[in-house]
């Protein structure tokens, strides 16, 4: 019970601190970011981007800080992106994955978090297959900042911020843009965080895909009668051609093969016919519309190969900007508020 008591007594000051909002301690999702704070992160990322493009990519901003990446799911770009971001800022970055760790001996997520905290780590970057896992750590760890690098189908806020950054960089603004997110929105943590991000920045978000794969409940008013839903402005259009009319951004989402077995789709063939983002379909969008994908891509399924690597694609820039955004966030949590 001593462990439990420690958790309970220590959680209290943290709750009070959150209420005061002296400084952001965690990045769990974008739903608790204000427009102003998002803009601050994007501005900070511009400076970081400059560092990233220097010949010698190293600044001492986070010297003496320790960042642990704690990944319970496979990842290439997100983990490397965080590691690179931390190292450029001179933080010490330790990578830990579930396989080969004490998790295999049955250690719980919370005890792993407490162990890492006890080692004096400043920030834990966590990816976990269960929605809400980063909240568990944020609730019970009082000396560590938590960054959500993807939790279940819930949120991937750093991906959404890098997407916002990329669009703003290319099109000069976010407000008033028409953003079409196409595919398996229901199971996409990237889409969920992007919905929050783009809506907060004043863009018009349209979700497109099979009705079985759209998070329609999220857009409805709650059971509490006329209570306002902050996502009420989000539109749904299952017909991709209509959705793309006048679009400024088209974001295709990864379609996982198991969705067909799960009964969400009759076949890949029908999905491709109705929802693959192709050059022909893109002709309905604005001439300078951007093509985005959070990766990893299934070329030829949710997006045609020519489009993925064509002139309108900013998919590689997304990856590059991801490093700048993660540098900005690490700085934001570690030192930015001082």
């Amino acid at each position: 019970m001593s462990l439990l008591n420690a958790i309970e007594t220590e959680a209290q000051p943290q709750i009070e601190a959150a209420a005061v909002r002296k400084r952001r301690r965690h990045v769990l999702d974008l739903d608790d970011f204000s427009q102003q704070e998002i803009l601050e992160v994007l501005e900070s990322a511009e400076g970081m981007s400059e560092v990233l493009h220097r010949d010698i990519k190293k600044v001492p901003a986070l010297r003496g800080r320790v960042v642990v990446t704690l990944f319970y799911e496979a990842s290439t770009r997100t983990r490397i992106s965080f590691e690179e971001a931390g190292k450029i800022l001179s933080a010490d970055v330790i990578n830990m994955s579930a396989s080969g760790s004490s998790t295999e001996k049955g250690e719980s997520l919370l005890n792993t978090g407490l162990t890492i905290q006890a080692m004096g780590v400043d920030i834990i970057v966590i990816r976990h297959p269960h929605s809400g896992a980063p909240y568990l750590l944020a609730q019970h760890l009082d000396r560590v900042g938590i960054i959500n690098a993807g939790d279940g189908i819930h949120a991937h806020p750093t991906q959404a911020l890098l997407d916002l950054y990329t669009v703003k960089e290319k099109l000069g603004r976010l407000e008033g843009l028409k953003i079409v997110i196409v595919g398996d929105v229901l199971h996409s943590r990237v889409a969920r965080s992007n919905i929050w991000g783009f809506v907060k920045m004043g863009a018009q978000v349209i979700l497109c895909g099979p009705s079985t794969l759209l998070p329609l409940d999220m857009l409805r008013p709650s059971g509490n009668d006329d209570q306002d839903n902050p996502l009420a402005s989000v539109q749904v259009e299952t017909n991709l051609d209509r959705a793309l009319e006048g679009a400024d951004v088209v974001m295709a989402l990864r379609l996982q093969a198991e969705r067909q077995n799960g009964g969400f789709l009759p076949s890949m063939r029908e999905y491709i016919r109705r929802w693959q983002v192709t050059e022909a379909r893109l002709s309905r969008a604005n001439p300078d519309a951007l093509v985005m994908h959070p990766g990893p891509m299934n070329e030829g399924i949710e997006i045609s190969s020519t489009l993925a690597h064509g002139g309108r694609s900013v998919i590689e820039q997304q990856v590059t900007n991801g490093v700048a955004i993660r540098m900005a966030l690490l700085y934001h949590l570690s030192a930015g508020g001082e």
Binding site: M218, S222, G223
Partner: protein, 449 residues
């Protein structure tokens, strides 16, 4: 001095079975109610023990027809002794425990074990519920007559609903001469896949797999049809959806022998609590989303569901309140929402939660007390009549409570080993002052006696 003669002096006596709601006295001797109401001073022995209860309410002890005592098999979550102490603190004098123990209660030896443990160490009455199927596996019927003779008061496979409709039909038919209800947890599991909370806006926003209302309503419609087909007595456990209420109402109107229960949490809190920051009416500050203490099965649902359930209870479509007391060791809840076990430790907060319906003007106090005494007794049958009344000559199972006393829920004060409640830190209005079983106080002045 005759220690076994007790006078409960001056409470507001609420005895729903007799339609009594009046200030008076209750005289008890040798575990039996001698008189209640206006008692002539001549009839009160001079040497009796007097318990001042002016300003308080006295009613028949509450009956909980759905709780989990975890013993045997899960004594680290709850024991029969701790569970009965929690019941006493909650004002319950009779509780019915579900058979999802390990091993499950599917034979007479198990029934006898529970009853023996309760007699030896328990402080309120414990009535086991027996399995519908052997091992709760949903394949073959349990020896239902043997269980009935051994003393079970109902049949249920608890959290594992009887999925096979033919087996459910046979269970209702086979048990029809035993006079005991079959309780089903109405959940069509094939519809809910891996759901962990109510399907809807909150679940979708949090990225948690949802459980649609149709999960409950589809199986409830099936069970009602089977009750009509067989004439067997079906009891519908813990209704949670608005759509379930008209199903029960229609079944009643057609004369089908159906009864139903609802839990305090489904009457008072919603799935918005999973978003965090909702646990206190007193505003102690923010809390985090994904609070696993809110995870319960069936799940917390929307305000419309709450409203419909409250109305169904007020109108009597739903017979009674049952706690579904489901204690867990706290460490098991310190995991992700998906990994956390379902359940709320509810015996000690049930009255305070349920009284919100009275304080909110949704039903009278006598109606609420009816739903916690006569209502559950009606579900279980005539043998419980003497445990749900204050009529002279009946068993002195009595609760005394203050309906207006405000208190802050502190799970560390629970008698239950299960400290798992989303109400931790919340202020409830209404608390038990004393609980009497067979003329003996088992809980009084904030302590188990």
């Amino acid at each position: 001095m005759a220690p076994d003669t007790i006078l409960i002096k001056g409470p507001r006596i609420i005895d729903p079975g007799r339609g009594v709601d009046e200030v008076g006295d209750i005289l008890i001797r040798d575990g039996v109610i001698l008189a209640s109401g206006t008692i002539s001073p001549d009839d009160i022995p001079e040497d009796c023990r007097v318990v001042e209860a002016g300003g308080l309410v006295a009613s028949p002890g509450f009956i909980d027809i759905h709780c989990h005592l975890r013993e045997p098999g899960y004594e680290y979550k709850e024991t029969i002794v701790a569970g009965t102490r929690a019941a006493a603190r909650g004002g319950f004098t009779s509780i019915c425990c579900m058979p999802n123990t390990d091993p499950p209660i599917d034979n007479s030896a198990m029934v006898e074990f529970i009853r023996q443990r309760a007699r030896d160490e328990g402080i309120v009455r414990v009535f086991p519920i027996g399995c519908v199927t052997k091992g709760r596996k949903g394949k073959e019927l349990s020896e239902m007559e043997e269980l009935a003779v051994a003393g079970v008061v109902a049949f249920s496979d608890d959290g594992d609903p009887v999925e096979d409709p033919n087996l459910m039909r046979l269970a209702l038919t086979y048990s029809s001469d035993l006079g005991l209800p079959v309780t089903n947890h109405c959940q069509d599991l094939s519809l809910s896949r891996n759901g962990v909370m109510a399907e809807g806006r909150v679940a979708t926003r949090l990225g948690l797999p949802g459980i649609p209302s149709a999960v409950e309503e589809a199986m409830m419609a099936r069970d009602i049809a089977l009750a009509e087909l067989t004439g067997g007595r079906i009891h519908l456990a813990h209704l949670s959806t608005a759509g379930s209420v008209p199903l029960v109402r229609q079944a009643r109107e057609r004369g089908i022998p159906v009864t139903a229960e609802v839990c305090p949490h489904h009457l008072t809190i919603t799935d918005e609590w999973v978003l965090g920051g909702q646990a206190t009416g007193t505003g102690t500050g923010e809390s985090f989303a994904y609070d696993t203490l809110t995870k319960v099965y069936p799940p917390l649902r929307g305000q419309q569901d709450v409203n419909a359930l409250v109305q169904g209870l007020a109108e009597g479509v739903i017979d009674c309140i049952a706690t579904d007391h489901a204690p867990h060791e706290l460490i098991s809840k310190l995991v992700t929402y998906q990994d956390a076990p379902s359940g709320i430790s509810a015996l000690e907060t049930a009255l305070g939660s349920a009284l919100q319906l009275v304080h909110g003007g949704h039903m009278s106090l006598i109606t609420l007390v009816e739903r916690m005494t006569v209502g559950p007794a009606r579900v279980l049958g005539a043998s419980f009549d003497h445990l749900s009344t204050l009529a002279p000559g009946t068993t002195a199972d009595i609760v005394i409570f203050d309906p207006d006393l405000e208190w802050v829920v502190d799970p560390n004060e629970f008698q239950s080993m299960g400290k798992n409640t989303p109400l931790q830190g919340a202020t409830l209005k209404g608390q038990v002052v004393a609980t009497m079983v067979q003329g003996r106080f088992v809980y009084q002045d904030g302590a188990v006696v």
